[in-house]
Symmetry: C2
Subunit: 115 residues, 2 copies
């Protein structure tokens, strides 16, 4: 369970900053949606490029950002590199988001009560 603590909070902020940055681009966000809701359960660089109407290098760069932010995993298989969700890390990310919003809503509720 995540607890409030100024040092810890700072660390969470840093993590969330990177996570939000990675997800704040429409191409990367859409890719995540496609991966999450479509039939594909993995995507290669070329596939992403085609699907999103991007050049191969552009797709490569986007996938690198998603991998660095621990949103996707990369697994080389022959000629291809397949990107899949980093389940474990995503659970962690979600916990941090829930913690942040939990704090926000606690404050909102408290404020409402005091009125």
């Amino acid at each position: 369970m995540l607890r409030i603590n100024s040092e810890y909070t700072l660390e969470i902020s840093k993590d969330l900053e990177e996570l939000f940055k990675a997800l704040s681009n429409i191409n990367r966000l859409t890719l995540v949606y496609i991966l999450a809701t479509g039939e594909m359960e993995r995507v290669s660089v070329t596939e992403m490029a085609k699907k999103m109407g991007l050049t191969q290098p552009a797709a490569s760069q986007h996938l690198k950002i998603l991998k660095t932010a621990n949103i996707l995993n990369a697994k080389k298989q022959g000629n291809y590199i397949y990107y899949t969700f980093n389940h474990k890390a995503l659970i962690n990310h979600k916990e941090k988001i829930d913690f942040l919003f939990g704090c926000v809503f606690t404050k909102c509720d408290k404020r409402q009560k005091e009125e």
Copy 2:
């Protein structure tokens, strides 16, 4: 309840893009944390500037972004403008985030089962 639908999904993506963009800056993210976990339940431009070590215009610009993204509300009171959480909109934001992660985890679980 949010449902999968390509048109709707696109709309959510746009919303989430703006939300994540607003939260992908360390100063704005930290301010949200401070507001959520500290004693303050509202913040003025000057207070934010002081707390974050920013100039007044910088703080003003950050708060404008958080307001535009429907994370904060602004309420003028005399000389000051007090920014507070936009509770209703934040609930909406959180729903969209939960929907996105819900789809992701559903896909992750499905993949795990099939192995």
